[in-house]
């Protein structure tokens, strides 16, 4: 089964790029290719001009399921990537404590993941990746399973963190509103087999107030233009779900 067709995408340094597409368009496949968790059948992934084989350690990956280690406390989870790098305990502690406070998880350092809410776990998931400062961070629908209000709060926090840490973020979502609100550029993918259909810049200045952005004319214009592009693909994607003989 071919999941992706002719996917050609240049990602700029320190940009916030969002990728939207109908369900099953190969978004997650693209992610796994970029990280190097499995190899492309044809073509190659160039990272800073060099062909990439195997897992690319310069790229962080925030998955939809939080994948926190249940046997580690919140703090120990955040410090995990630093532990792998042999960072001394005092420095690990300092970094994790800063991030934990930054996203309002102070007081829960010694809690185990099952004792935290979905929103708290997803915040921990994101700062775990930020902790070791990869140059590029991929996020695969990290706010997918959360309720609308928690999502909004976490989106805002993510933008603040991004402004502070200035990493390149590639953010996958099926929610066009989220894609436009967060991004410098939005990529629309076609239905399976996935292909890049449209790439559009979002002309809204930063810092953005996500609580008010939906009323912004530029937001609405960009949203409408991209929705026309996406709508067609969503319908095509839905057609694929018809019962097959």
């Amino acid at each position: 089964m071919q999941a992706l067709l002719e996917t050609d995408l240049q990602i700029h340094d320190r940009e916030f790029l969002t990728i939207v597409g109908p369900s099953g368009c190969g978004k997650s496949t693209l992610m796994n290719l970029i990280v190097g968790l499995f190899p492309a059948s044809t073509g190659e992934i160039l990272y800073r001009g060099h062909s990439q084989t195997g897992v690319n350690r310069a790229i962080g990956y925030v998955t939809q399921a939080d994948n926190l280690y249940p046997w580690r406390t919140l703090r120990k989870n955040i410090e995990f990537p630093l532990e792998l790098r042999g960072v001394p305990a005092a420095q690990r502690r300092e970094r994790s404590q800063h991030l934990i406070q930054r996203v309002g998880l102070a007081g829960f350092e010694e809690s185990y993941p099952h004792e935290l809410s979905g929103g708290m776990r997803q915040r921990a998931n994101i700062i775990r990746t930020l902790a070791y400062e990869p140059e590029v961070i991929l996020m695969d629908e990290p706010f997918g399973p959360l309720d609308a209000q928690t999502r909004l709060i976490l989106q805002n926090q993510l933008l603040e963190l991004w402004q502070e840490e200035r990493k390149t973020i590639i953010f996958i979502t099926h929610d066009l509103g989220e894609a436009v609100a967060l991004a410098d550029r939005v990529v629309v993918m076609s239905a399976r087999p996935g292909r890049i259909k449209t790439i559009a810049p979002v002309p809204i200045p930063r810092p953005r107030d996500l609580f008010e952005i939906h009323a912004d004319d530029r937001f609405r214009e960009t949203y409408r233009a991209l929705w026309m592009s996406l709508e067609e693909e969503v319908k095509k994607g839905a057609a694929l779900w018809q019962p097959q003989k």
Partner: protein, 291 residues
């Protein structure tokens, strides 16, 4: 924002409770009373059962069949002053040595087979066949191979623990969520780090549960070995009493074993709860601890 998500027990209190602390105190006192009540009823039940047993002996049934609580108590007192302790020490020593070597070897072999997947796959059907043997049935053979002394009991106790730990380790390591491993690799874990920091802890509930279940099994192994052929140990004494139709002695031996197993299980359940406290469901599952 974080406070909005804290799990405060607010919902457990009536709305507008004037004094929350008083309510909490009343609730705690209620809990304590319920606990005491439970304990008292349990003790009463035990007394009733023991009385029926004692009263019924030689009235409704012959003392030869079940002995009686007073006889057992008297026998226990004299046995303690005689050689109960030395027999108990022998049985426990066999159990301990067998258990320790069995679990260590079982975990080591399970780890090796999970690590070297090809070897593991080759050996899978053989392991399945081995697993089909009712292991206690090997006990007589072990007496032939290792003699009637302690070694045959140690091997028997060890074998029972070995297989439990071996299978649990193998299944545990094989069932680790692949996402945990991928995410560790993406974060930069080496093979070694992935194994020790992710795979092993993820499989630890399996391994720890097997280590816990192995303790009574190792004891059973030692006792069965002593039943077969031995010169000392609690199993040997129970066997000897039975052969002499000394029901009192045999039942006393069984009760001593019961107390030993209950003590082991209580300690092990506590230990398991502490080590696996990170698990969402760390209630006493399948444990025989009575609170």
């Amino acid at each position: 924002m974080a406070t909005a998500e804290m799990n405060r027990p607010a919902s457990a209190l009536p709305p507008g409770a004037a004094n929350v602390e008083d309510d909490l105190k009343a609730w705690a006192a209620e809990e304590r009373r319920a606990k005491w009540k439970l304990m008292i009823v349990r003790v009463l039940l035990a007394i009733v059962l023991l009385t029926i047993w004692e009263y019924g002996t030689d009235r409704w049934f012959d003392a030869l069949w079940f002995s009686s609580p007073l006889r057992i108590a008297r026998h226990f007192m004299s046995w303690v002053q005689d050689d109960l302790l030395s027999h108990l020490v022998i049985t426990l020593r066999e159990t301990f040595i067998g258990y320790t070597s069995g679990t260590v070897l079982g975990i080591a072999f399970g780890t090796l087979l999970a690590r070297f997947q090809f070897v593991g796959k080759v050996l899978d059907p053989f392991i399945l066949a081995l697993n089909g043997i009712p292991r206690i049935a090997l006990a007589p053979l072990f007496i032939i191979w290792f003699g009637i002394g302690e070694p045959s009991k140690i091997v028997l106790a060890g074998m029972l623990s070995f297989f439990l730990c071996f299978y649990a380790t193998l299944s545990g390591l094989r069932s680790v969520d692949a996402a945990y491993i991928s995410i560790a690799r993406v974060m930069g874990a080496t093979e070694r780090q992935t194994f020790f920091k992710v795979v092993l802890p993820a499989a630890s509930p399996w391994i720890i549960t097997a280590m816990k279940v192995s303790v009574p099994f190792a004891l059973v192994g030692a006792i069965v070995g002593e039943f077969m052929a031995a010169t000392a140990g609690l199993g040997f004494k129970i066997q000897l009493y039975t052969a002499q139709f000394d029901t009192t002695g045999a039942v006393t031996g069984v009760l001593v074993l019961m107390v030993v197993v209950i003590m082991f299980n209580t300690g092990l359940n506590r230990l398991e709860q502490h080590v696996l406290r990170w698990r969402p469901d760390n209630s006493v599952a399948g444990g025989s601890e009575v609170q």
